[in-house]
């Protein structure tokens, strides 16, 4: 067959319509069906749509448990009943809220505030938790009136229970709702936007591990929101259990020893870096954050004594005399003085061109002192002298090796303290470094500030042979041990460390030692006292005046470790405005070491 010519206009038109026709017919059928569905059967389908309550709901996993080093439970979960509402299924918001208000006995405007706030945050047909942790009475009343409360569900969810309450607060932290920013920066939180997540402490640090994975449930519900049938589930995955290095009994006992005084205590193993107790007083009960009485939580935040502030890792204090062993060590290392060399301490130290004397804490001084005696009796004048000879240029870098001025990355909200040097002062204060600044630094006063944790790590390095350890508070996660990390500090002469340790023993065991009051031949402890000035005292007769104001009294410090023969634990205690390191802080440390040894 030969090729064809073009079809005529007429015939191509005929063909177009022919091939369009089947689809047109199809469309006409479709349109008839649409009319049928939307006009004649509309009512039937509206009813069906209304009763369609197959919802995809999140199933939240229980958070992981927090255990102590002896497997005692520190935090577990309990089940509570929450009232969840789906606003699209509520006919009249205001009558609903007034009925609910009378049933649960919560004022209507309080309910309204929560309701409309949350309503603005959700998408159409989503639901939210209106009331948490209903008590039995509320639960019974709501259930009795369920038929009048369409769009309401009672959901059980998990709540956190801190078994040891207040004493564990600074360690475990608390839960709360993630802010919008938190969710923005951590998309993993998106699934938990209506759930409490860790906001502080271990709960925050290990939130990712503790949280678990959300599951889903598809269930059919009737118009009142009760489940008729669960169609399918995608199970949630429970959070991981976290085992801490904390000994919760020790923590609890020691917290009670503080008797509400402000202060902090850290007990750490100098060889492993495991923290056995971390106390900040006053503290708070993490369970407090379970109920939503916002007023009370607000009071907690406004409390002058800042119970939510973890003094052990965030409190920055002058290390005071507890810094002296390090100044002594750097002096030995730099050979500005020998171990036995004596300095005459008559209670005052003068710098050329400066009229004002630098006073020691003891009027009249300690007489002729060598380093051992100077540490044991805490002679200020001795350390004024060697600090003056050392200059800040050799002190600051040395202290830095021991972790001063640096975060240990144990917690996110850890403070770095201040390790001042010439550059720091020029940058921060806009002033040049004075000799007097170095002299003050020699006794741990002036600009230098350290956290109890930093002091604990620096002392650990002194007694473990020069290893700056990374502290650990988590022993294992779901059975997986955490890693021990340490950094070797360069010590020129290892003998110098022995000298310093010997001096620390003399603090307790020499009959002129500042902490001789805690001497106990059955359990030998070594350590160093410290008394941190809150306000620098210029004039003697003002001292009594200042003492009148409790908040201006000196902080009492003590760092101790034991047993001396083979130190297994090191404890730093600080009692704010406690005045005497030896009388207030040292007994706490002794108690801690005793309890730990048991």
């Amino acid at each position: 067959m030969k090729g064809q010519k073009f079809l005529t206009d007429q015939s191509i038109l005929r063909r177009v319509f022919l091939f369009l026709l089947p689809f047109l017919i199809l469309l006409i059928f479709a349109f008839l069906q649409i009319l049928n569905l939307m006009v004649f059967q509309a009512e039937k389908f509206k009813t069906q749509a209304d009763s369609n309550r197959i919802l995809k709901e999140k199933v939240f996993p229980p958070r992981g448990l927090i255990l102590d080093t002896k497997d005692k439970i520190i935090v577990n979960n309990f089940i509570r009943q929450d009232l969840v509402v789906t606003p699209n299924f509520i006919e009249n918001y205001s009558s609903y809220l007034s009925l609910l208000s009378s049933l649960v006995e919560i004022e209507e405007d309080v309910l309204e505030q929560i309701f409309y706030q949350k309503l603005s945050e959700i998408k159409p047909f989503q639901s939210f938790t209106l009331l948490r942790d209903l008590n039995d009475r509320q639960l019974a009343k709501v259930k009795l009136n369920f038929k009048d409360l369409s769009g309401t569900e009672i959901n059980s969810s998990f709540s956190r229970n801190a078994v040891y309450g207040e004493s564990s607060g600074p360690v475990i932290g608390y839960l709360g709702f993630a802010s919008k920013q938190d969710i923005l920066f951590n998309p993993n939180l998106k699934n938990f936007n209506d759930q409490q997540v860790g906001l502080l402490g271990i709960e925050k640090e290990l939130d990712e591990e503790l949280r678990g994975t959300v599951g889903y449930r598809f269930s059919e519900k009737d118009a009142r929101g009760s489940v008729l049938d669960v169609l399918s589930t995608e199970p949630s995955i429970k959070g991981k259990n976290v085992k801490l290095s904390i000994d919760i009994e020790l923590q609890d006992d020691l917290y009670k020893e503080f008797k509400g005084r402000k202060g902090a205590l850290i007990a750490i193993e100098p060889e492993t870096g495991f923290i056995r107790a971390m106390i900040s007083s006053p503290s708070y009960n993490p369970n407090f954050f379970n109920n939503l009485k916002t007023e009370e939580i607000k009071l907690l935040f406004q409390n002058k004594n800042s119970p939510l502030f973890n003094r052990a890792i965030s409190g920055q204090y002058p290390p005071a005399s507890t810094l002296k062993p390090f100044i002594g060590l750097v002096a030995l290392e730099e050979e500005v003085i020998t171990w036995q060399e004596k300095i005459l301490d008559e209670g005052e130290f003068f710098v050329e061109g400066d009229e004002r004397p630098y006073r020691g804490w003891k009027e009249g001084g300690h007489g002729e002192v060598n380093m051992e005696k100077a540490i044991a009796e805490s002679s200020d004048v001795y350390f004024y002298n060697i600090a003056y000879d050392l200059t800040v240029n050799s002190i600051a870098p040395f202290l830095k090796m021991f972790g001063f001025g640096e975060s240990s990355d144990l917690f996110m909200n850890e403070s770095k303290g201040i390790l001042p040097d010439k550059k720091w002062k020029l940058g921060q204060k806009g002033e040049f470094w004075f000799k007097g600044d170095t002299i003050n630094m020699g006794i741990g006063q002036g600009y230098i500030l350290a956290t109890p944790l930093q002091i604990a790590l620096a002392y650990s390095a002194l007694i473990n042979g020069g290893k700056l350890i990374s502290p650990r508070i988590v022993q294992s996660i779901e059975g997986k041990e955490t890693e021990f990390v340490s950094e070797k500090i360069e010590i020129k002469n290892i003998k110098n460390l022995e000298y310093i340790k010997q001096s620390l023993i003399s603090v307790v065991e020499s009959n002129t030692g500042t902490a001789k009051n805690i001497y106990d031949p059955k359990l030998r402890i070594a350590g160093k006292t410290g008394t941190a000035q809150v306000k620098s005292i210029l004039d003697d007769n003002k001292y009594q005046e200042i003492r009148e104001n409790v908040l201006l009294r000196d902080h009492a410090l003590f760092v101790g470790y034991g047993p001396v023969e083979d130190p297994s634990i090191l404890v730093v205690a600080i009692v704010e405005n406690g005045e005497s390191g030896s009388l207030v802080a040292a007994p706490l440390v002794k108690k801690a070491i005793n309890l730990y040894q048991k």
């Binding site: 067959m1 090729g3 191509i12 063909r15 649409i34 006009v39 389908f45 509206k46």
Partner: protein, 367 residues
């Protein structure tokens, strides 16, 4: 105050003398409105601003190409159209080597920032290429028709391999229509129709099980409400419950509660019906009607053979898409992957549809 008598006449382009420079505003307006409706409905169906925005970007991109293409000289482009089948074929072969781990079907080529769907590109290139081939010389032999038919079957087969039944039918249609409209003798048409009817059982057994299942449920959707029939049943509830006025934007419980599967793509018609009711459906159908009417008009009025074949083919395919998609969501046809043109979510499809319109507009200018 003087009043003009009411003037209902539209510019139907009948006037031959004006045809040359007329740029059909009705076609542009209808595709613009349809795409815009699509973006809003995608947001309602997915509740994802990101998805709606992405579709918006595709729409702007597509409209820009539409304008660009509509000003091009189609006579100069015919050479490219003629050979455009081959790159399309290459893409279809490449996509088979792109295995998607979580999905067994290989429909997309992932280029990092965006994905392309070769089957969509083929159903666009095939009629273009076929129309150009069948109008390249005054006399078309039966061998030419046969060649187009074979190449069409090859493309259809490759799409079936993905597997994508819906698009493979469209690809088949877009290759067959130019042959039929180009003037294939009737005797062959009858012969072909007879063969298809006889081979229906064969086609049935070559279908995948899930495809068979869809056809079975079509005839009895209520038998297994939580199984395959579930989708259709829920879609019907959504459409029916929309009633005359609809439930309002973002207020359709069926769509917002995710009762409707694929509500942002294949089942977007259900969302429109539920939220805007019969009124919304009528408006949508009016826009489609306007578009198809204007396209057919071009085919009828045009003197050029290429333009006639292409315009008629594309308007038929458009109508096929619309009617099959709607029949599918209201339960008159089995569920095959067939989006609603211009409205359903899908970047490749939207851009391809808009470019197609651009090409047709370019035909109109060059009469």
């Amino acid at each position: 105050m003087s009043r003009q008598p009411l003037d209902f006449s539209l510019n139907l382009g009948i006037d031959n003398s004006r045809r040359k420079s007329v740029f059909d505003p009705w076609i542009v307006l209808s595709v613009f409105l349809l795409s815009l409706i699509g973006i809003f409905m995608i947001y309602s169906a997915s509740q994802s601003v990101e998805m709606a925005l992405r579709q918006g970007v595709y729409m702007i991109f597509g409209l820009a190409i539409l304008l660009l293409v509509s000003f091009s000289n189609f006579r100069k482009m015919e050479v490219f159209y003629l050979y455009s089948y081959w790159p399309g074929l290459l893409l279809l072969i490449i996509v088979l080597f792109f295995s998607n781990e979580n999905n067994e079907t290989n429909r997309w080529i992932d280029l990092g920032i965006f994905t392309i769907q070769p089957s969509e590109i083929m159903r666009f290139l095939l009629p273009l290429s076929a129309a150009a081939f069948l109008s390249r010389k005054p006399l078309i032999s039966n061998f030419d028709y046969l060649l187009v038919f074979i190449l069409t079957m090859v493309a259809t087969f490759l799409v079936l391999l993905q597997p994508d039944l819906g698009t493979s039918l469209i690809v088949l249609l877009s290759g067959i229509l130019p042959i039929l409209l180009g003037g294939l003798p009737w005797v062959f048409i009858y012969l072909g129709a007879f063969t298809i009817i006889c081979s229906l059982p064969l086609i049935w057994f070559s279908l995948y099980e899930y495809q068979q299942q869809r056809i079975i449920t079509l005839f009895n959707p209520d038998a297994d409400i939580y199984g395959t029939g579930w989708n259709i049943a829920q879609s019907k509830i959504a459409i029916g419950s929309g009633g005359f006025w609809g439930k309002g934007y973002l207020n359709g419980s069926q769509s917002q509660l995710n009762f409707i599967p694929e509500s942002h793509s294949d089942f977007i018609f259900s969302v429109i019906s539920e939220e805007f009711g019969l009124i919304g459906v009528l408006f949508l159908l009016f826009l489609y009607g306007l578009l198809i009417y204007r396209l057919i008009l071009i085919s009828v009025m045009h003197q050029n053979r290429f333009a006639k074949i292409l315009s008629a083919t594309l308007s038929t395919i458009l109508l096929a898409y619309i009617s099959i998609n709607i029949c599918m969501v209201i339960g008159l046809l089995p569920v095959v992957g067939m989006p609603l043109p211009f409205v359903s979510q899908g970047g490749t499809a939207l851009i391809i549809n808009l470019v197609t319109i651009g090409i047709i507009l370019s035909l109109r200018r060059e009469t």
